[in-house]
């Protein structure tokens, strides 16, 4: 894990002083609302429906136990004792007082954390695979690249007032678990002609009102040129992106308007001026950053003995055995597993976690996973390095605080934005829909029979709940002051990324569990052996789903 040196620490400390000064000037009337707005947003502070919301940066989702305890402390002392994991792997608290925010930022800085650029029209937190560094299908650990990008983008003087927000994701594995196709810039680590890895560069993906799959503008970029190339893309966007209409201001609109070829040519021309300049990455710097992410000191285990212990544990505890099967993942190191801690138990707003649960996770990751954990864009937590023989005590520890829900990757492990309960942008309340669906599909055997299924819910078309890329997507819409929900099918976030298509007219909130159940019944009726929901849908098309749902009279 990256550790601050004096330079990094000084920057976050000075950022706290800067924001304290800005907050004081705002509270005394020296800065008006419009002036304070971008300044507070660039420190993660929103003014929400009920209270301000503070979004704390978790660079590429990585936290250590000390930081997790600090988050628990902050939620207790400055908030209501819980936090929310966002789809950018960040942590949000919903009830801070504006005048306390500088103190909260100072607390964060004391454990090498901050809220820099978690909102606003600037470069946001770079996200990646929650299984980075341990996934069996990995070509290269993407986290050093995320850290290199974090440093470059942090307090970048040229790109603090972009036309709109800007999101970068990096993927280093065969399967894409970072949704790189739906980012402003998606970077895929790929092998180069001379054996050195580089990047495939995608630009202009995004969700929101106009969902677009990113376009490739460079099949291979040598790694030393990463930052100068990013700088060229950002400069073209900063100068030419639309500023007259915030709904047309993302880079995806510019790429569409110019055409991919013309956009690429503009970037390459800008890059000619910048390439091989001082921003070129020396191997020594790449190595320095990569060293922070070297593998933890895994025990050299007798894999057969380790497997036998796990098998015995499973035999003695069938509920545990099921959790292992559903919530743990293959690991690069023999005798180890990565574990998903689901924050999607029935009745729990997706992604919410209490102070007591945070403290327990800090203890458990210290005991069983080298003192680190990861937040995921699926709004869960991952303990990435757990010995197989430690899975049982870990599970017991999780179970004691309600964190052992065995639904990772299944229907009820849904992504859901905070919605109209908190967010002032939302058209509709998304959490009650999530809770109603969780309650309807509590039966685990039924869930497992449905197989891997991603259901994503957004409370408005800003798409924070990533509804476009859910196998089933739900979008809250407002019709003359009333909440309705539009359903889309067939979205997917993997390397064969696709956007969902709208099923038809929208539904009332109370009808949503029935609608979902009907859709699932169509799938079960049509599926061939071993076929997933997505595969069946791709084979039979929308029509059978449409007919059954609207014949049932669910539509408004």
């Amino acid at each position: 894990m990256y550790r601050y040196d004096d330079y990094d620490q000084r920057l976050v400390d000075e950022r706290v002083d800067q924001f304290r000064d800005q907050t004081e000037r705002y509270l005394r009337g020296d800065l008006d609302e419009a002036e304070f707005l971008p300044l507070r947003l660039q420190n993660g502070l929103y003014v929400q429906r009920l209270a301000p919301m503070l979004r704390i940066a978790v660079p590429y989702g990585l936290l250590d136990a000390r930081q997790v305890r600090k988050l628990a402390h902050i939620t207790r002392h400055y908030d209501k004792g819980y936090a929310h994991i966002s789809t950018r792997q960040n942590v949000q608290i919903n009830w801070p007082r504006i005048e306390d925010v500088p103190d909260i930022l100072a607390e964060l800085a004391s454990v090498q954390m901050h809220a820099i650029q978690t909102s606003g029209n600037c470069i946001r937190n770079t996200t990646t695979d929650p299984l980075a560094g341990v996934a069996a299908d990995e070509l290269e650990d993407p986290r050093p690249w995320c850290e290199i990008i974090r440093q470059w983008s942090t307090l970048h003087p040229e790109f603090a007032f972009l036309p709109r927000k800007f999101k970068i994701a990096v993927c280093g594995s065969r399967e894409d678990r970072a949704a790189i196709h739906s980012h402003d810039i998606g970077l895929e680590i790929v092998p180069g002609p001379d054996g050195e890895n580089g990047f495939r560069v995608l630009v202009g993906g995004g969700l929101g009102r106009t969902p677009v799959i990113g376009s490739e503008i460079r099949p291979f970029l040598e790694r030393r040129h990463l930052l100068s190339y990013l700088e060229a893309i950002l400069r073209v966007y900063n100068l030419h992106g639309r500023r007259d209409n915030k709904y047309k201001a993302r880079i995806k609109i510019l790429v569409k308007a110019m055409g991919v070829e013309a956009f690429t040519a503009a970037v390459e021309k800008e890059w000619e001026q910048l390439r091989d300049g001082p921003t070129t990455l020396p191997d020594a710097e790449i190595g320095r950053i990569a060293a922070f992410f070297s593998a933890p000191p895994y025990a050299s285990v007798d894999t057969a003995a380790e497997a036998a212990v796990l098998e015995a544990h499973c035999a003695s505890e069938p509920i545990f055995a099921n959790w292992v099967r559903r919530n743990s993942h293959a690991h690069q190191a023999p005798g180890y597993r990565a574990v998903t801690v689901s924050l999607k138990a029935t009745g729990n707003p997706p992604g919410d976690i209490s102070a007591a649960q945070l403290d327990r996770l800090a203890d458990l990751c210290e005991a069983y996973s080298f003192g680190q954990l990861r937040t995921t864009h699926q709004q869960n937590v991952v303990l990435a390095d757990v010995r197989e023989s430690d899975l049982l005590p870990l599970w017991r520890g999780l179970q004691a605080v309600g964190l052992a829900c065995p639904n990772a990757g299944y229907l009820t492990d849904m992504i859901c934005c905070p919605g109209g309960d908190f967010c002032s942008l939302a058209n509709a309340k998304s959490i009650p829909v999530a809770e109603a669906i969780q309650a309807r599909f509590e039966d685990l055997d039924y869930l497992y029979d449905l197989g891997p299924l991603e259901l994503n819910i957004s409370g408005c078309m800003n798409a924070c709940g990533h509804h476009h890329i859910g196998h089933i997507g739900i979008l809250g819409v407002d019709k003359k002051g009333e909440e309705f929900f539009q359903v889309s099918l067939g979205g997917n976030q993997g390397k064969d990324a696709s956007l969902g298509a709208i099923l038809g007219p929208s539904f009332r909130r109370e009808d949503m569990p029935d609608v979902i159940e009907t859709l699932l019944r169509v799938y079960l009726d049509h599926r061939l052996e071993e076929e997933t929901f997505l595969q069946t849908l791709r084979r039979i098309g929308m029509q059978p789903f449409k007919e059954r749902v609207y014949d049932n009279g669910n539509a408004r």
Binding site: D5, Y7, R10, L11, E14, R15, D17, Q18, Q22, L31, E35, P38, L39, N121, Q151, W152, T154, L155, H156, P157, E158, F159, A160, F161, L162, P163, L227, R235, N238, L239, R243, Q273, G277, P278, T279, L281, P282, E285, R288
Partner: protein
């Protein structure tokens, strides 16, 4: 430094930070009418072009102007100003960097709608002169020219990124 008194004879308002110091402005802001003989006035891009792109002039770019129009004449210009219609219009930051990367070494001035809190970034992007009509904000901006004692990225003020400078 020469201090020029405008034709009206009114005292010049201190509204400029140049190279870190608050100084009297020795240029007049752009105006609709063509400047008189010997008047030190900043020209709009159109006025400068209409006058035959004279050397020694001071030219103002709007954030949607193409700086390519200036590139050939840059070495001879006394001053380039970038006018921010809104402080949230970040194009001016990229324009400044392009002008410095093209080798412009004269005065590069930011004017228009600016926040004192932008002083650090403006300076880093290559502006060595910042205009604020409000004296309190002028003072605040001067205090905020270097709110960060170090920076990760290379920019116009310090071309080397931190990774080439870390001790």
């Amino acid at each position: 430094m020469t201090t020029v008194t405008p034709a009206s004879g009114a005292p010049v308002q201190q509204r400029l930070i140049r190279d870190g110091a608050v100084v009297a402005d020795d240029w007049l802001p752009p105006a609709e009418q063509t400047p008189g003989e010997g008047e030190r006035r900043i020209l709009t891009l159109a006025q400068w072009q209409a006058a035959g792109s004279p050397a020694g002039a001071a030219v103002q770019l709007e954030t949607d102007d193409d700086p390519a129009a200036l590139l050939d004449a840059l070495p001879g210009l006394a001053l380039v100003a970038v006018h921010f219609e809104a402080f949230t219009d970040g194009r001016g930051f990229s324009l400044a960097r392009r002008l410095r990367e093209a080798g412009f070494t004269g005065e590069l001035r930011a004017r228009g709608s600016l926040l004192p809190d932008q002083a650090h970034y403006l300076r880093r992007c290559g502006f060595n002169a910042l205009e604020f009509s409000d004296p309190d904000r002028l003072a605040q901006a001067r205090e905020r020219l270097a709110v960060f004692s170090t920076d990760y990225q290379g920019a116009a003020d310090q071309p080397l990124p931190l990774f080439r400078r870390r001790a």
